[in-house]
């Protein structure tokens, strides 16, 4: 093949300054590359939500699957009845248990996110300001626990926090307390668990913005009369805000729906919506109710956050 077609293409590229314009001509490959992942996500990500929505409007039934159908065919087959059951949602509003669970999840996730930020910020700052050849090592130290099992990391805290565990022993040995205190099965343990397991998600976005922070801005602030603490709040914090927001969302969203941590570390009174949903599904076998909980969670908690996130843009994204 001569080089002429190639040149012709380059002419096109230069004319359009866009590569895509020319890939567009090769339709089959292009269609496949776009439509296969598209279809996959449509079937296994989008349609499931439609199904959840549909089932949330149906009634629980002792059957397989354990819910009634929205459409019921008249025995004569002459007409179909459409039954929209709002009962699940009404019950959600009626019983304060669910509202409490939502509020308590948000509260626990918010406190845990704030704690994660407090723990993660100095670490991210230190790593970003370390010598370049040491940065890689420190980052690996932060990420390494993330590659080991999440479940086992939570489990490690069960052993540490229990009544006869090492933390109680140490506190007693140093005379801070006289007898073991209950730490496991409290909200405190849940906070520790969330901070511990989600710390890398906070540190990585923070690191990536702090690393890009221009040091001369801090010098300029000091030159104009700022003490370091002032320049931290007047310059550093506003400059790394996108990273703070990204990190907080990456921790907050999964923490709200967390199931494993409250089940293993929390007490029976640690109310979190993920746990409620799971119990509704597996213990009560009330699938429509579980669906309704999921839909409300999605609409009230997740969608607004995703909306905010899109508005801010993906600046702090890793």
């Amino acid at each position: 093949m001569s080089k002429l077609p190639g040149l012709a293409r380059v002419g096109e590229v230069l004319a359009n300054r866009k590569l895509p314009a020319l890939v567009m001509k090769v339709n089959w490959g292009r269609q496949m590359v776009i439509s296969i992942p598209f279809l996959w996500l449509a079937i296994f990500f989008f349609i499931p939500f439609v199904v959840v929505l549909k089932i949330s409007f149906s009634e629980a039934a002792i059957a397989i699957p354990p819910f009634s159908d929205l459409f019921e065919w008249d025995p004569d087959g002459a007409y179909a009845t459409f039954k929209l059951n709002l009962g699940n949602f009404l019950f959600l509003l009626e019983d304060t248990f669910y509202l409490d669970a939502y509020l308590s999840s948000v509260k626990i996730a918010a406190i845990a996110t704030a704690l994660t930020l407090i723990v993660g910020f100095p670490m991210a700052y230190l790593i970003a300001r370390a010598e370049p050849n040491r940065r890689l090592f420190l980052l690996a130290l932060v990420i390494l626990p993330f590659w080991t099992s999440f479940l086992l990391r939570v489990y490690a805290w069960m052993a540490l926090l229990k009544r006869g565990g090492p933390i109680n022993d140490i506190l007693i040995a140093f005379g801070f307390i006289d007898e073991p205190i209950r730490m496991l099965q409290t909200d405190f343990a849940v906070y520790i668990g969330i901070v511990y397991t989600y710390l890398p998600f906070m540190i990585l976005p923070l690191y990536s913005v702090i690393e890009k922070l221009d040091g001369s801005l801090l010098e300029a602030a000091e030159d104009l009369g700022c003490r370091p603490i002032q320049s931290f709040f007047l310059v550093t914090v506003p400059m790394v805000m996108p990273g703070i927001i990204a990190g907080c969302l990456l921790v907050f969203i999964p923490a709200v729906g967390e199931y494993v941590i409250p089940s293993l570390l929390g007490g029976s009174d640690t109310l979190m919506i993920g746990r409620v949903l799971w119990d509704e599904f597996s213990i009560n076998r009330d699938w429509p109710m579980a669906s309704a909980v999921a839909i409300v969670m999605l609409v009230v908690l997740v969608l607004p956050i995703m909306f905010v996130r899109n508005r801010i843009g993906n600046k702090g994204e890793v």
């Binding site: 221009d214 001369s216 801005l217 010098e219 300029a220 602030a221 000091e222 030159d223 104009l224 009369g225 700022c226 003490r227 002032q230 007047l234 310059v235 506003p238 400059m239």
Partner: protein, 391 residues
């Protein structure tokens, strides 16, 4: 220094004198405003600034000129307080700066990157320093407005830095660093990020502003033309040392070393041997030039010492016919001509193989046609045109 003293700097000279700049540095009895005494700065094994001493006087516009890695920026950062000297002292207005933090120094800096806070508007950027001193809000507003009007940016007060052009950003940075009326303003490559045309305009604005406000400026630059235009005096730096300090004219016409001569402007360096060394003149024999050169200033050197004669391209005259003088006259062939409009540049090859660069002003329209490639020409110059350099 306390906060009150720091803010005092803003009240001490509210009425900037508009008298012409006195040439304090020529007066041996004058008190220097900034005294740098034997300053050394080491980063590990690397010596960035090596035993530098300098005296800078009030209302000077002093340029630190040097290539990258010459230590000029480090010296500036020590004045601002971002780096602590390894040894030596810095006095500003008689006060030892050791241990005084950047935020307490009577000094402001304009950063090379401008370091404008991207999250703050122009107004907030400029007022930043005043607000840190706890100045009343209406006073801040008034001062910011005055300052922005002075740099002709009043209409852009609400913009964010990323909505400004390069030149506008530069002026915001200047306004921000001047608004606290520092005794001393440090400027790190103030014009480095601007394009050539804008740079030339801005140079003069900078000089006017400095004269108007009566602030002492220390400018770091690698651009020798900029240093020549701006400064009252230049300190040329190389490998962490100050190699020469002087007025632009002195630096250009009487460089004290081959380094300075070559760094400031372009120059032909001709090797030779001293044959006569008197108080008022020197005679140098040069095989490279193929002639005897006479220079009308004395030097201190050993007899027959190898020296270099520095000859600026614009000081050489070109002719087809042999001039009357035998001294300071070389013969060569034109190898290349570059017509630059206002002047023409010739590259002339001497029989020794040495290449000489000559510039000729095009004072008549047909000047370009008088010489052409391969012409045999004579190059000659006056006894007061060249300089002998021993180092």
């Amino acid at each position: 220094m306390t906060t009150e003293e720091k803010s005092n700097q803003t009240n001490s000279d509210t009425n900037p004198l508009t008298a012409p700049v006195p040439d304090l540095w020529r007066d041996p009895n004058a008190t220097p405003f900034v005294e740098i005494e034997n300053i050394t700065k080491k980063f590990g094994d690397f010596t960035a600034v090596d035993n530098v001493s300098l005296k800078i006087y009030k209302r000077e516009l002093f340029c630190l000129l040097g290539g990258s890695g010459s230590g000029k920026s480090t010296l500036l950062r020590m004045l601002a307080g971002f780096e602590a000297p390894t040894s030596g002292r810095i006095l500003i207005d008689g006060v030892d700066m050791a241990g005084i933090q950047p935020w307490n120094r009577p000094v402001n800096m304009m950063f090379q990157s401008y370091a404008l806070f991207p999250h703050l508007s122009v107004e907030k950027n400029v007022g930043f320093g005043l607000r840190r001193d706890g100045m009343a809000e209406e006073d801040v507003k008034r001062r910011v407005k005055e300052m922005l009007d002075m740099v002709q940016l009043g209409h852009l007060a609400k913009r964010k830095p990323n909505q400004l052009s390069g030149g506008q950003r530069q002026r915001v940075a200047l306004a921000r660093s001047l608004i606290k009326r520092p005794k001393l303003l440090l400027l790190d490559e103030p014009l480095g990020a601007l394009d050539k045309k804008l740079r030339e305009e801005t140079q003069f604005e900078l000089i006017n502003l400095q004269e108007e406000l009566g602030v002492t400026f220390i400018v770091v630059t690698h651009d020798q033309e900029e240093a020549m235009t701006l400064s009252t005096r230049i300190g040329v730096m190389n490998h962490g040392e100050i190699v020469q300090v002087g007025e632009p004219h002195d630096i250009y016409e009487y460089p004290n070393s081959r380094y300075v001569a070559q760094f400031v402007g372009s120059v032909n360096m001709i090797a030779g041997k001293v044959s006569v060394d008197e108080v008022d003149h020197v005679v140098v024999e040069s095989e490279e030039a193929g002639c005897t050169m006479r220079i009308d200033h004395g030097i201190s050197c050993a007899p027959n010492q190898e020296v270099h004669v520095a000859l600026r391209p614009e000081k050489i005259m070109v002719a087809h016919d042999k001039p009357e003088q035998d001294l300071n006259c070389m013969k060569g062939r034109i190898e290349e001509i570059a017509y630059m409009g206002s002047l023409s540049v010739f590259r002339v090859r001497l029989p020794s193989g040495k290449e000489i660069r000559v510039t000729q002003p095009n004072y008549a329209r047909d000047m370009g046609a008088r010489f052409t490639w391969e012409d045999e020409v004579y190059l000659y110059w006056d006894v007061d045109s060249s300089v002998v350099l021993t180092v």
